[in-house]
């Protein structure tokens, strides 16, 4: 395949940034999107130009490090995948592809396509945990049976990879899906119930403080979430939050 790429270039956080055109040829359908960028970068580097910065690590859809807004969609046109799992067979010869960073006020650009998502960490530091000592003096893991159904739903919420696609695709740049996934994981487990009230208040307040927008229930986040995190979690978090605020 021969493709035209329109890629966001921005030297650093202060630079204004602009779209730049690149041509790439001989792209095979078996390449992942990031491998295609590797090839482009190798070429730029050989020509003495600065390669394009983008985040990635595991390249198998689990670390949440890759991002990229591709043709107006977080993680590109394929459903239920991260950018590293997107393959070039989803594109056609002659296509023009727009590649931009995940934009949100709470995700400032570091360089080119790399953004700073540490606001997500700070939300979790505000309460995304169960306050148990790591001493190993806990009760036997089977002492509290948990319904398979609850454990499974908790697991489903816990599969959020913290990629930020939900924020990038929300017109309000809301982090509700991400935060609600974490709140839900704990809310569904007996171990997490004890400090549920404080947790949801702290996390939601922190989310607002970090500059994420409001949720207006448009649902774009759920559509673009590579892990299929469901809107149900937002409903659950709202209930938890309401309950906590009247307590």
């Amino acid at each position: 395949m021969n493709l035209t790429l329109k890629i966001w270039r921005q030297k650093d956080a202060r630079d204004k940034g602009r779209m730049v055109d690149y041509k790439i040829s001989d792209v095979s359908g078996d390449m992942s999107f990031l491998e295609m960028l590797d090839v482009l970068n190798e070429d730029l580097n050989n020509k003495g130009e600065d390669p394009i910065a983008f985040d990635h690590d595991c390249r198998e859809g689990i670390c949440g490090m890759c991002s990229l807004f591709i043709n107006g969609e977080a993680h590109g046109p394929d459903r239920g995948v991260t950018t590293c799992q997107l393959h070039m067979r989803k594109f056609k010869d002659g296509d023009t592809i727009y590649i931009e960073p995940f934009r949100a006020k709470a995700f400032p650009v570091i360089k080119d396509l790399v953004v700073d998502r540490s606001s997500f960490d700070r939300i979790q530091q505000a309460g995304g945990f169960i306050s148990v000592n790591t001493s190993g003096n806990t009760i036997d893991a089977n002492a509290i049976p948990i319904k398979k159904h609850d454990a499974d739903r908790s697991f489903d919420a816990a599969t959020c990879i913290g990629c930020g696609a939900c924020v990038a695709s929300c017109k309000n740049a809301s982090a509700m899906l991400f935060v609600s996934a974490k709140v839900s994981q704990f809310a569904l487990l007996p171990q997490g119930k004890v400090e549920a009230t404080q947790r949801v208040l702290n996390m939601v307040n922190k989310m607002d403080e970090e500059g994420f927008g409001n949720c207006t229930n448009t649902g774009a986040c759920e559509v673009e979430c590579p892990k299929g995190i469901s809107l149900e979690n937002i409903a659950r978090m709202n209930r938890e939050y309401l309950f906590a605020s009247v307590k």
Binding site: S28, G29, D30, M31, S32, E35, D38, E42, N45, D50, P51, A53, H56, D57, C58, R59, E60, G61, I62, C63, M65, Q85, H87, R89, I110, K111, D116, R117, S118, F120, D121, Q124, Q125, A126, G128, F129, I130, S131, V132, N133, T134, G136, T138, D140, A141, N142, P145, I146, K147, K148, A151, D152, F155, A158, G162, Q185, F186, L189, Q191, G192
Partner: protein, 666 residues
């Protein structure tokens, strides 16, 4: 320096308890005056940082990713072992200990492995208390499955995302301490050197990867949980950033590097498809519980499949060779990884490979789908003879167990594995070698510790599945917090370590000089160009099978490649900015040294054991032939200016509790 493993006296079952009863403790008020640096926030580093902070030490934690949650551990799929015996199938601390020592082909240290087995049960309790949603049965209790190389079900899991859930558990424990101000977290920071003052590890030089600035950080002890070095092969199942740099830098400063050649080749990975490929993807070993591995029985069929004239489903049962079940009737598809990997290579080398390049075998779920489907139909009172229904029900069961793995496969290969059998081939996965540590997990540098995959201690020559996660968390949550306290008890009056000391100055200058050298080099080839060439030498000559001639060639070729790299590498941009090529250059430079030591280690070990297979040393049936007489030791290498001049030190391995026998899975 003579190696002292500091294994406590006494019977194996009480060593750890006795040890803990006699170590020095630091009073809580004094812990506040002690700083500890933890490099790495994977399962090992993350759990260590959280626990040390909770005990009261001031912890500074570092990772090169943008968040601790993204450490490579997140990718682990299959599960974590623990001797809980919940299934009542005969598991025990001793049996886990025994299986692990045997699975490591008797090249691991008994005392460490026993301790690991002892604390394993505790890990599960700890994680569940933290809200890790491990898989459960309908009765509400935890579920288990089995992994290669064992006859019991002791593996705990969370679908195919066990590492993710365990890491998020450790990350949440860290977050709690970061929130309390007990851990200072440095994301996007890379450790580039260790600082030693008066013989003791007292700090690190780190580069802020966003601004490019070099920073000095001091502490009373330094802990490395920096993971493994499988990426020396370029293609591996490791995350792209996994590297040897931190371990290599401390090696150059005096830490011995043990058994570098022990690499695990994992049998169930997605085969290589082309030159553009940047990494290989693992399909969890748990798939071997239900998947049957085969190649065509006849060469013509294999050829027809490769040329696309036949489909795997066209072959009848009689036309298939389930070679693992044939060769190893008692373990079948669940033989350990080294055995399964070599068997696949053997079949492909003999011409039976099934993909275009002839380097793939099938992993087939058809019979499991039927088996589960019939079971479900029976449970639900439906017609067990209705083929379509049985297939549908069976597919649902498989989907429930391995759904995300199947999805991952389909995305990469563009084939539906519920219908066509998966294609798999071995790939580099895990490194059992690493920094040499004593029983306390301390390296040969005082006050410098190594935990998790970065150390060498618990796995021997072939790690069994689901034991790396166990080791990472055991080290971090339950072992290091005790052993490091014993050391730090001497430091309560030391006070803050100044970063103005000349040792910091010197280390920083050296790092800066190295960075500048790359920026100013202006050569003609990219970093990846050299990394790929290194990987090819490693895979061809130091890979799944090795021989003296190939290894000797590899040593020369790597040394030459290293010279060329320094002469001709080209790194764009500048030092004081976000520069991913420069990050890679620093890592590949270290791989180019490690690779040579790796080959040298493989060459000197004139035996085969586990993941180290020397073609000259095999039984008549093609199995690994150990030489316990001459090689029952840990090979710990001391740096002397060049990998070729490294000096070998031996830690003899003493087996008092398990008898050394030929490993057989027949």
């Amino acid at each position: 320096m003579a190696l002292d493993s500091k294994i406590p006296e006494g019977p194996i079952a009480s060593k750890w308890t006795d040890y803990k009863n006699h170590i020095n403790l630091v009073n809580p008020a004094n812990k506040r005056n002690i700083d500890v640096i933890v490099v790495g926030t994977g399962l090992a580093g993350g759990s260590a940082a959280a626990t040390l902070a909770e005990l009261g030490y001031n912890v500074k934690a570092f990772c090169f990713q943008d968040s601790p949650r993204r450490a490579h551990s997140i990718a682990a799929q299959g599960g974590i072992n623990a001797a809980k015996n919940y299934q009542g199938d005969g598991d025990s601390t001793f049996r886990l200990f025994y299986d692990t020592v045997k699975g490591g082909d008797y090249r691991a240290r008994e005392a460490n492995v026993h301790r690991l087995a002892e604390v394993s049960a505790n890990i599960i309790d700890q994680c569940v208390a933290q809200g890790v949603p491990l898989a459960r049965e309908y009765g509400g209790l935890l579920d288990n499955r089995s992994f290669g190389g064992t006859l019991v079900s002791r593996t705990f899991y969370a679908k195919g995302q066990t590492g993710q859930q365990l890491l998020l558990g450790a990350y949440s424990a860290m977050n709690r301490q970061i929130g309390r101000g007990k851990i200072q977290m440095y994301n996007r920071h890379e450790m580039l050197d260790l600082v030693i003052v008066n013989g003791k590890a007292r700090g690190i030089i780190a580069r802020n990867l966003v601004t490019g600035e070099l920073e000095r950080h001091s502490a009373h002890a330094v802990v490395l949980g920096t993971g493994g070095y499988g990426n020396v092969f370029f293609l591996s199942t490791n995350a792209m950033g996994s590297n040897v740099t931190a371990a290599w830098k401390i090696h150059k400063k005096g830490a011995y590097f043990a058994n570098p050649c022990y690499t695990q080749i994992h049998p169930t990975c997605i085969p290589v498809s082309g030159d553009h490929q940047s990494k290989l993807t693992l399909m969890s070993e748990s798939l071997r519980n239900d998947g049957r591995i085969w190649v065509p029985k006849n060469l013509e069929d294999a050829k027809a499949i490769r040329e696309g004239r036949k489909k795997p489903t066209d072959l009848s049962e009689e036309e298939r060779d389930y070679y693992l079940e044939r060769r190893y009737p008692s373990f079948g598809n669940l033989v350990p990884r080294d055995v399964a990997s070599r068997a696949a290579k053997e079949r492909c080398d003999a011409g039976y490979g099934v993909n275009k390049t002839g380097e793939a075998v099938y992993l087939d779920f058809a019979s499991a789908i039927i088996r589960y489907g019939k079971e479900q139909a029976k449970i639900k009172g439906l017609n067990t003879e209705d083929e379509a229904l049985v297939k549908k029900l069976g597919t649902e069961v498989i989907e429930n167990k391995y759904g995300n793995l199947f999805q991952m496969y389909e995305k990469i290969v563009d084939e539906n594995p519920y219908v066509t059998p998966m294609m798999i081939y071995p790939a580099v996965h895990y490194t059992m070698g690493g920094i040499w540590v004593d029983y306390n997990l301390m390296t040969t540098i005082e006050g410098c510790y190594a935990i998790g995959e970065a150390n060498f201690s618990d796995h021997g020559a072939n790690r069994l599945g689901a034991s790396a996660l166990m080791q990472g968390l055991a080290d971090g949550y339950f072992v290091l917090p005790y052993t490091i306290g014993d050391y730090l008890a001497k430091d309560i009056r030391t006070g803050k370590i100044s970063t103005d000391l000349p040792e910091f100055e010197e280390a920083e200058n050296n790092v800066r000089a190295q960075l500048e050298r790359f920026i100013n080099n202006k050569g003609t080839h990219t970093v990846d160009h050299f990394h790929k060439r290194l990987g090819k030498i490693m895979w061809d000559k130091v890979g799944m099978a090795r021989n003296a001639q190939g290894l000797t060639e590899a040593i020369g070729e790597i040394a030459a490649l290293r010279e060329e790299f320094y002469r001709d590498v080209k790194v764009p941009g500048d030092m004081y900015s976000f520069n991913q090529e420069l990050e890679k250059a620093m890592r590949v430079a270290d791989f180019l040294e490690l690779g040579e030591l790796f080959a040298k280690d493989a060459l000197h070990r004139n035996e085969s054991c586990g993941g180290h297979f020397r073609e000259e040393y095999q039984t008549e049936e093609g199995e690994a032939q150990r030489d316990d007489e001459n090689f029952a030791y840990v090979a710990a290498w001391e740096y002397r200016g060049k990998p070729s001049e490294a000096v070998l030190h031996k830690e003899p391995l003493v087996f008092d509790n398990v008898k050394l026998v030929q490993r057989s899975y027949k």
